[in-house]
């Protein structure tokens, strides 16, 4: 539609050009009033002010009170006629004479708006005297650029992939293409639990001020909740000022994370065992990732001649966030010396593994100690016998 309109306008314009000499011819040059300006067609960029210096010429013998009006100018262009510093509607021009000037100057100002299409715009300045004399001055403006009034948001990389426990850092450029400095409020819409923060020049910010035709690099830090399942999530970011706004969508692709944690229910990683004896400890397996783990196998690396038996040395499936317990029986070597030993338990799947190192305090059995007591008792018995046999003589 707009294209058609502009074609039509061009047609009208060319017609006007063709006809304008006729119009001028139609009004005899030496009578009536004339409007004159040097530059009847000007080229401007959107947002600029165009000023026409117009001369009103009186070619009659008497004073003419001229009424000036504009035709075909949209109100948004804010047309104004001024002479000196005053805004005027009518102007009186002296007649042609020896001592007087028969011309008066008037300024026509037009503000070309920012939001305008590229092309020719024509209008007319119409002069009419009280006595009914008329003159039509056709004027045209060529808007050389497509006029804009908007804010541009440009994201470097809108799609990112990462684990649930990592941050997603996006960068975008906010470009103010309006004629004024804009104060943008930065806001976001994210799924519940997600944290979105904006960063301008290294600092966290909620608003940013950008001058005309300037741009600012803004980074967005998106933190998903810890236990987010593997999925693609969208975060909408918005920059809003009073008159303009921009929005775009960021994509965060959460990758499933494999994580396994091996510990004990009390988190205590020490135990006691007698040399040659056994001790059962409860192990706790926790899937701290976001993806179910399958076929978790348990293993232990022990001091020489020690053994660790697991109640079941393979856990078939463990869902994210779930825990399970496994009993492990530590059998210490009978030759183990008293004191502390290091014993390591491993839980592993093809994707993740975890280890727990235990401090096992070995104590010696008191079997030999009792043998020693028996020997001493035997000797004491022998002495008691001697006392009984020889004493009291």
């Amino acid at each position: 539609m707009e294209k058609k309109a502009s074609v039509f306008r061009k047609l009208v314009l060319s017609l006007t050009f063709c006809l304008s000499p006729l119009l001028i011819l139609a009004a005899p040059p030496d009578q009536g009033i004339l409007l004159y300006t040097a530059y009847t067609s000007q080229s401007v960029t959107p947002g600029k002010t165009v000023t026409y210096n117009i001369e009103v010429i009186n070619q009659t013998e008497g004073i003419q009170n001229v009424n000036l009006s504009l035709r075909g100018v949209p109100n948004s262009w804010a047309p104004s006629l001024t002479a000196g510093t005053n805004s005027i509607q009518k102007i009186a021009v002296k007649p042609k004479g020896v001592e007087s000037e028969n011309a008066k100057e008037v300024d026509l100002k037009l503000n070309v708006p920012l939001k305008i299409s590229k092309g020719y715009y024509t209008f007319e300045l119409f002069a009419e005297t009280d006595s009914g004399m008329e003159y039509l001055l056709p004027l045209s403006i060529q808007v050389t650029e497509q006029g804009v009034f908007r804010t541009e948001m440009q994201i470097d990389q809108a799609n990112m992939e990462g684990y649930a426990d990592s941050d997603f850092n996006y960068n975008f450029t906010l470009n103010n293409q309006t004629a004024r400095e804009q104060n943008y409020a930065l806001s976001s819409a994210a799924p519940p639990g997600w944290d979105v923060r904006f960063r301008v020049g290294g600092n966290y910010a909620t608003s940013v001020s950008i001058g005309t035709n300037e741009s600012e690099n803004i980074s967005v830090q998106v933190t998903p909740p810890e236990q987010t399942e593997a999925d693609t999530s969208e975060v909408v970011i918005r920059a809003t000022s009073g008159s303009t706004s921009a929005r775009d969508t960021l994509e965060a692709v959460i990758k499933g994370k494999y994580d396994l944690n091996l510990t004990t229910p009390s988190s205590r990683l020490s135990t006691e065992v007698t040399a040659g004896g056994e001790q059962t400890i409860e192990l706790l397996l926790e899937n701290s990732g976001t993806v179910p783990l399958r076929d978790i196998s348990l293993d232990a690396s022990t001091p020489a001649e020690w053994k660790v038996n697991f109640e079941n040395d393979e856990v078939t499936r463990l869902d994210p966030g779930e825990t399970t317990t496994v009993d492990a029986t530590i059998a210490a070597s009978s030759k183990a010396i008293a004191g502390d030993y290091r014993l390591q338990m491993d839980a592993s799947t093809p994707e993740a593994s975890s280890e727990a190192t235990f401090r096992v305090t070995v104590s010696k059995s008191i079997a030999w100690g009792s043998a020693g007591i028996f020997i001493i008792l035997l000797v004491s018995g022998g002495i008691a016998y001697l006392f009984k046999k020889y004493g009291r003589r």
Partner: protein, 313 residues
């Protein structure tokens, strides 16, 4: 004991007489002076080091009180070595002429002719000397401990105190062993010089020559290193001196976890740690058994010999 107080009293009178005889004898005074002089040098060096620069002792400054007894600085032997060496001398000095001197002076038959059981004589000799030994050893030990508190400024931990007390008790047992050996020889030999020489010879043999003999024997018979070590330890354990040294070292060094050699399998996976007192005691329990049993057996022999001996010769 189901003995009335009337019959007990003469026994304790005899014990008191024994104690006063020992304490007043020059022999005892000289020995005590010898022990005090040698140990005070060693203790003083360690205490001044602890006060000035405890890091010089060793990287690990736990069980500081035990270090006072075990650490050797400037080639001065530590307290435990000195006690292990001089302790037997005290025992021998108190026991070597217990019976034969009385026999020589003719006092034995006079005592025996009193209306008291005959074993009172030998028992009072043993108990009297034992009390003196206990008093001496504990006095020495606690003096060192007291000096330690004075210098260190911290009270010893319960574990340290218990270990020190255990060490003192077993030192008394060890000295009592030599005392009984002395008493036995004093019954066997009529001449006190013979019995003195005999016990001294045994003491000298075990504390000086026995280790040389063991080394010679092991060197002559075995070639492999591990076998040599095992054999050395095995043969050495016949010596009461060696048993006592092992016992005191383990008792006062909680970080030692084993006696003698260790196989690679035993060492793999170990974490340096200290043992609780119970486990240390269990480690040297054979030594404790051997020392206590040896002391009791020596006493039994001397008792039997004395009771079977003809006195009115």
């Amino acid at each position: 004991m189901t003995v009335d107080s009337d019959t007990v009293r003469p026994f304790w009178v005899m014990v008191q007489k024994e104690i006063s005889d020992h304490v007043r004898s020059w022999r005892f005074v000289i020995l005590v002076a010898l022990i005090v002089l040698t140990t005070s040098g060693s203790i003083y060096t360690i205490l001044s080091v602890i006060q000035d620069n405890p890091a010089q002792l060793s990287a690990d400054t736990t069980f500081l009180y035990l270090k006072i007894f075990t650490e050797s600085i400037n080639n001065l032997p530590p307290f435990i070595t000195l006690i292990g060496f001089l302790g037997p001398l005290v025992g021998i000095a108190l026991g070597f002429d217990a019976v034969n001197a009385e026999r020589d002076k003719g006092t034995l038959s006079r005592v025996i002719s009193q209306p008291i059981p005959r074993d009172y004589f030998i028992n009072s000799k043993f108990v009297g000397a034992l009390i003196v030994i206990f008093a001496l050893i504990f006095a020495l030990g606690f003096l060192v401990l007291g000096l330690g508190i004075l210098y260190v400024g911290l009270p010893p931990a319960a574990e340290e105190l218990l270990r020190i007390i255990a060490f003192l008790v077993f030192t008394c047992v060890y000295v009592a062993f030599w005392l009984n050996l002395g008493i036995t020889f004093s019954i066997v030999f009529r001449q006190s010089s013979t019995s003195a020489l005999c016990t001294l010879a045994i003491w000298l043999f075990f504390s000086v020559f026995y280790s040389m003999l063991v080394n010679f024997l092991v060197g002559a018979t075995t070639y492999s290193n591990y076998a040599a070590r095992t054999l050395t330890v095995m043969l050495s354990r016949i010596s009461p001196e060696f048993l006592f040294n092992e016992l005191t070292t383990i008792l006062l060094t909680p970080s030692i976890r084993s006696l003698g050699g260790l196989s690679f399998e035993q060492v793999s996976g170990t974490i340096p740690s200290t043992l609780p007192l119970g486990q240390s005691m269990l480690l040297v329990w054979p030594n404790i058994t051997a020392l206590v049993a040896g002391t009791l057996i020596c006493f039994g022999i001397s008792y039997m010999l004395f009771m079977n001996q003809e006195i009115r010769a």
